[in-house]
């Protein structure tokens, strides 16, 4: 079984409001999965459950096929904001997960310095976050999540705060990183194009509570680039996902449940 992360019959609610009900999701090793859905539907909650910040009220979450309750410290997580410490330099920020794992500061920073060239950050090793552009800050944040050493990464709208050009650059860059590291990646995004361009599988989350997610394989082979957006297969899939999202939104309005 090459299953990396799985939700099985998971229930979760915040107070009165049920977000997940008998929810199933399987992510295979080496997958790049995009999660897309209207805002406020509970995508970030899904990540917090996966990372172990929250526990399901029923059902189980499996890592590598084993039901795991203690998931903190097992999954790399890249939050929406870059969440870099303003008082630490690039090297010191990226070394944080190694320090937490008990590595000495010196050793941690030595290992980070070895990695920097691959991320185009060697010139900025001793710069502070406020001296970097948004795109570079996200690269540092990504490097930090990678150095954490897990081969499963959760990316929570990592590019949402970036300008369009930087965003395109970083999408291609992320694809390269994924292929180099062979990690399993799960990406939350609001952007249909981004969801399709990066992932081999797109999962649509809809309904309140979310029960049966709709899955679509992306029929475009890697390596992909920004130009892949013009392929007929891409456009077709985009149309379909757009239609499904609109249907979901319509159903929510008819059902009288509209969440922001």
């Amino acid at each position: 079984m090459n299953e990396k992360l799985a939700f099985s019959q998971v229930d979760f609610s915040y107070g009165e409001r049920m977000l997940l009900s008998s929810f199933d999701l399987v992510v295979k090793k080496g997958d790049f999965v995009s999660l897309i859905g209207p805002s406020g539907i509970g995508k970030s909650t899904l990540f917090q459950l996966a990372a172990g910040l929250l526990q399901p009220q029923a059902g189980e979450i499996r890592i590598d096929g084993v039901a795991t309750k203690e998931r903190l410290g097992k999954i790399g997580y890249m939050p929406q904001s870059d969440a870099l410490m303003p008082w630490r330099t690039v090297v010191e920020n990226a070394a944080l997960p190694l320090e937490i794992q008990g590595c000495s500061k010196k050793e941690a920073q030595r290992r980070v310095r070895e990695e920097l060239p691959r991320y185009g950050l060697s010139e900025w090793a001793d710069a502070y976050p406020h001296e970097l552009s948004g795109g570079m800050r996200q690269r540092v944040s990504f490097l930090r999540a990678l150095l954490f050493g897990s081969d499963l990464m959760l990316l929570d709208e990592p590019f949402s705060a970036l300008d369009g050009i930087t965003r395109l650059e970083l999408q291609e860059w992320l694809l390269q990183m994924w292929r180099q590291t062979g990690s399993t990646m799960i990406l939350i995004t609001h952007d249909i194009d981004e969801a399709i361009l990066l992932a081999n599988r797109v999962i649509l989350l809809s309904g309140s509570p979310i029960t049966a997610p709709v899955e679509r394989e992306v029929p475009i082979s890697y390596p992909r680039s920004t130009a892949s957006r013009n392929l007929p297969a891409f456009l077709e899939l985009r149309e379909e996902i757009w239609r499904l999202l609109r249907q979901a939104a319509g159903a929510r309005v008819q059902g009288g449940v509209v969440h922001g």
Binding site: G52, G73, K74, Q80, M85, W87, R88, T89, I100
Partner: protein, 251 residues
């Protein structure tokens, strides 16, 4: 405006102010026991240099530094405890808020009553003045830590102690230092009031005695020294903050 220009303007306005003061005293023939001209204040400072610099300044400085030191240690520890335990926070925080609203000067004689007329009484009053600004700002600084960063560290498997030392402590330092700046100036007031209430040395004691004897130039000399002491402490705290706070540290 850059720093140098500001300094020049300040020096010019200060000189003008002193010149006007001197002129008013001389032209209107104001009796020196009401308002001494700056020249006689400086003269008094020089004449009284031995008791002022040899004894009273050091006595006050000792009270200020010990009092401030106690407040820093125990104030930060209390803030840490409140941050660590909701129970401690629930029990202690209301008192801290209340204590900010009562006039501490009115409480000072009580502290002298409890801690006596020797140095411990003055230190107690200094602590009374400086403790709460430090607790409140440090606690707020710890509480103000970015939630998303805390969550990120948790996903890395960080222990509560690691989250405290690597994230909360450094991110609370700017708040701590701004509280300490306030406390540094309050500490001089605290020591002075402690000395007014009963002492045999210190600048507050010296000034009150001079006031009782209508020795206005001596009184002004002690006030001048107390003010300079407060400014020096304020500047020192700011300097240490700039120099050692990780947020402002530069390679």
């Amino acid at each position: 405006m850059d720093k140098g220009k500001r300094g020049i303007w300040f020096a010019a306005s200060l000189l003008l102010f002193l010149a006007l003061w001197e002129a008013v005293c001389r032209l209107l023939a104001i009796p020196p026991f009401i308002l001494p001209p700056p020249s006689s204040v400086l003269h008094a400072l020089w004449e009284l240099r031995e008791p002022l610099f040899g004894q009273h300044l050091w006595a006050t400085l000792e009270e200020v530094l010990i009092g401030l030191g106690i407040s820093i240690v125990f104030g930060s520890l209390l803030a840490f405890a409140m941050n660590r335990s909701r129970l401690v926070e629930r029990i202690v925080y209301p008192y801290i808020v209340i204590s900010q609203t009562i006039p501490i000067i009115a409480l000072s004689p009580v502290f002298i009553l409890w801690f006596g007329y020797d140095i411990s009484g003055k230190i107690a009053v200094t602590v009374l003045f400086t403790f709460f600004p430090i607790v409140v700002t440090t606690y707020d600084g710890l509480r103000g830590t970015d939630r998303e960063m805390i969550r990120l560290l948790q996903t890395m498997g960080a222990t509560p102690w690691q989250i405290f030392t690597k994230l909360q402590l450094p991110s609370s330092l700017p708040a701590f230092f701004s509280g300490l700046k306030v406390a540094a100036t309050y500490s001089v007031s605290g020591a002075t009031i402690g000395e007014w209430l009963g002492a045999s040395e210190g600048l507050g004691y010296f000034g009150r005695r001079a006031s009782g004897n209508f020795q206005a130039p001596a009184l002004f000399a002690s006030v001048l020294l107390l003010s300079l002491l407060g400014m020096l402490l304020f500047w020192l705290v700011g300097y240490i903050g700039q120099r050692y706070m990780p947020q402002t540290r530069k390679k």
